[in-house]
Symmetry: D2
Subunit: 331 residues, 4 copies
């Protein structure tokens, strides 16, 4: 056991954890005032900037939750991890990685410049918009709904229910996200897209508009932490190699242009969305019984007040605190 770490192995661990999390959510809630709710999609501005919530699901099913746990929000860029997973499952990893690279960019999520400047043969990675739209073009299906069918099936398998779209957000994104259309036409001209642009963008805007809760994110995170294996059903939901790839991508590119700092200071795979959600996870790394809860756990965070890079400002600080305290870092 790591020196100085909490002794989890007592009968009161769960109460203790609950108290601990409650304290720190209360503490970091004040930090929400340092950030601002996303404004680039009008409907996102209606979120309550004070909200902060966290849900942690252990591989044994234990669930610790605190703060604004029941506020639904749209998944936004976190969906990029899922569509990448689905594309790999449908097309094969080789096919997908031939069409999108996995390199960090050092650029903002919505950069179009890099594509032109470096005369790339494929977008930088699936977690920036250019790459995610390219991934969306690879999803099978002749309509945007068909394209998302496998994604919804995967979500249903993991969550036990089929999430729905937030139609207002979807329409708002579809009608206002001109930068994504710019990126889309650029990709189209360069020959990067595997499908019709309008259907692709429709699918992309829809996948971003899926409504989730932090419990959902925590559960997805837990399955990724366990390499795609669901401990409760003992089923492999995502192929191990795909889950590994997704986690590596999250670590190197998941937090926009603060990914390097998140890896350095928090040290776990995570992906944020502009609505304020963050999915994070602690890869299963020990097999003894000392850390039954945090090993292989998934974490969902919601806090719509964002920092300049577009990440939940209080969410990142809360994660950093917990990860350091509980020694979640993979390094």
């Amino acid at each position: 056991m790591v020196q100085g770490a909490t002794n989890w192995n007592t009968e009161t661990t769960e109460e203790w954890l609950q108290q601990y999390i409650d304290d720190w959510v209360a503490f970091y809630r004040k930090h929400t005032s340092d950030g601002e709710v996303a404004s680039y999609i009008p409907v996102l501005q209606e979120a309550n900037a004070d909200h902060l919530g966290i849900s942690i699901v252990g591989k044994n099913g234990t669930n610790i939750r605190s703060g604004d746990v029941d506020v639904p929000f749209t998944i936004q860029s976190i969906s990029k991890v899922l569509s990448f997973i689905v594309a790999c499952m449908e097309r094969g990893i080789g096919y997908v990685l031939d069409r999108v690279d996995v390199e960090p960019t050092g650029e903002a999520f919505n950069s179009i410049m890099h594509l032109e400047m470096k005369q790339l043969k494929k977008p930088f990675n699936p977690l920036v918009n250019a790459g995610a739209i390219t991934v969306a073009s690879m999803l099978e299906g002749k309509s945007s709904d068909q394209k998302l069918e496998s994604l919804f099936n995967l979500l249903e398998k993991m969550l036990g229910y089929r999430p729905h779209l937030d139609i207002d957000v979807y329409e708002s994104e579809r009608d206002t996200s001109m930068r994504n259309r710019a990126i889309g036409y650029y990709l189209l001209e360069m020959g990067y897209l595997e499908d019709d642009l309008n259907i692709t963008l429709e699918a992309y805007f829809k996948q971003c508009s899926i409504e989730v809760t932090i419990d959902d994110l925590a559960r997805i995170g837990m399955i990724l932490a366990n390499d795609g294996f669901d401990p409760s059903t003992e089923e492999e939901i995502i192929p191990r190699q795909v889950a590994r790839l997704a986690k590596a991508l999250m670590l190197t590119c998941g937090m926009y242009d603060a990914s390097g700092k998140f890896a350095a200071y928090v040290g776990i795979p995570a992906k944020s969305g502009v609505a304020g959600g963050i999915i994070a996870l602690a890869p299963a790394r020990v097999r003894d019984e000392e850390l039954p809860f945090i090993d292989g756990c998934g974490i969902g965070v919601y806090g719509p007040a964002l920092d300049k890079q577009g990440n939940s400002i209080a969410g990142i600080r809360l994660l950093r605190h917990i990860a350091n305290k509980w020694d979640l870092s993979i390094f």
Copy 2:
């Protein structure tokens, strides 16, 4: 134990491992012909392009070595990890990170463009040249030799001997590396340097010219894998938080502009140098007795034939093979 993984726990493990490594070094040695020896420093061109060697040191001291194990080579960019560690130890993490960021760049190691283009207030990260030169300026001392004193002390503590400079390489770098001088003057003008430019560059060229072997790299890697703690002496050689930071940086930025791909396909912290060396490591992550060797091991690789990104072409493939087979990935 991961399904399908080797059963390490037999009395013949070591012989078996030796055989295994020998086979794969022989196999990947043929791949050296796909790469080319570095030419940007004249003296590096004299390396034997066929060479390939690997050394693995476990935290219990076990050492498996194969191939060209005794060829000394200059540490080159791998020294960037060490000078970053020393700067953090001398100045404190906060001081260093105020002066150099930890974000991946998406650019080549010797890019100067990014600094101007993004009007950065500090270089991208300590593992690209601009950041490493900035780090070298932070090292304490009034001459380049004084600046490197702590670095040599650290090496001596880890290796049990004091490595020396390859004077030919040092002079060759000093006299030919005009790009690094360009970067240096740019940094100087921007006010990023904490010390005289000439002394800083001298220190930088010297640190790159330290002669090491793969055994040295493996041993340093093993200590990093164990968070700076040397299991044989039970001494903390590098502060835990600094070691963690260094490993996160290696994972996100260690392999030039193939860092994302290395994280995705290999999944362990590593840093390469243009002379053909790679340091890699598998962070200590389990505490039971099933994997006594590979958990918390360090790896040194040498193969001077490089790919287009400047990484040992056969070395990367060998590492990928072993990491996948032995499930070293941190994800």
Copy 3:
């Protein structure tokens, strides 16, 4: 009179000029094989790569023509000069220049990168696509046809007839020019457009698809050369200040990323189009009677085989030859 220049002042000048031009068109026609017909719009590929023609109109009405003089072609980027003029006439120079700069870019005509990289508040200039689309958004009218009404009126006034659209080219551009749509959506998001994007792009694609001849270009050039004043009707067709501005823009930005070289080697305002047309002109600069023809003349060139920058390869060489021989340079 410039030493060594032709003595224009004989009764046989016109025959002599005709012979001269015929000789050099024949000579430079061979150069068409060094270039290639534009391929980015499918229908443009049908042009005859061997074609080369020139028409020169003096302010006294003299017209010297040679080569493939009667081949109609689409005006393409040359229309950018005209739409800029019309926008200035409709909105005022101040209004237009508040929304588009007049700086050369050093980038290709269809670059989108610069807008993002330099965080510009307005596109670089009206003669690159981003600027030209912005200018098209400023044209008055609620439909693309209404937007182009003033442009067609201006053309009719200058040419004595109303040119028509090449519908095939228009539809081809509209349906294939994804880069322009990418630029358009980028401009829309940045708030640079003064009108609906689809109407703006429709107007832009239409203006590019206007069919002209080299006689038309020569006549427009002659009117610009005379500061917007038509010597035959003694009418000011374009306000003097607008004509001057247009000519300055043509000189600094008219020939894509070869504009600097064209200014240096040829030295007269010119604008090329990707269909192979070039409009050029020699500003009226002398008032005596020694050079009755070339002073204040307009030049139209057609040669669809393009160089790498997108300019008529033989056309540029022919212009350079004539400009140097006749001392047309404004410098």
Copy 4:
């Protein structure tokens, strides 16, 4: 004669001109407070920000001067025009243009980014620092003084006296201009330099530190306006083709990243320096006797308060006013 233009052809023209210029220098002197004296070279900061002076030399020798006419200042970037001319005279135009392009950049004068970003085979143009340093490397001679011998000879021929270096400025530039050293090392590494870097930079810093007056600039401008021909001695001092090339470069690239705006609003070849000087000229374009003074005149301006682009803020406005009033534009 252009409608509305001044009637020059009276016996009182000179007095009238003097009065006119005096009035406008007084008017624009107030504008100096909108700018700031250059700070990047410490010694330049000592200039008097209120200063404004102009000198105009006609080809007949008439000289109109007003304001702070006798303040000496360093020529700075204006020397780039002269070193380019000398290099062309020593090496031939072809040799020089094989090693430096003549395209506007859209970037600041001291940009290093463009060289890397566009993977150029030669610097953009001789009037940005990268190009000017490359030009300095082409000057003949084994020391910086020898390299500048021809430049000083040319100046002596044009001015009737041999200007001297401002040693303080030279030493200040040499010791503080780290960006130029960065550019120099970059050029050296890329193989663009034709001579030793230190000698080249020494020559470059020296050429920038030549002390001149506005009368000197006006006289040089007048000779360029007359294609390198000195009307007073009837001697060709600069080959006509070289003078033409220099003027084209000045028009497209002479005023840093405001070159396009200067061409559009003022419309004459000009080059500014960071000490506050501007050389400008009105190419000889008419041969009749109506405009005996301004046709083929040279203009020197001094006003050390600079705008954001590094051009004399009051100087540009004064030039614009005069150029428009007197119809100096070449367009």
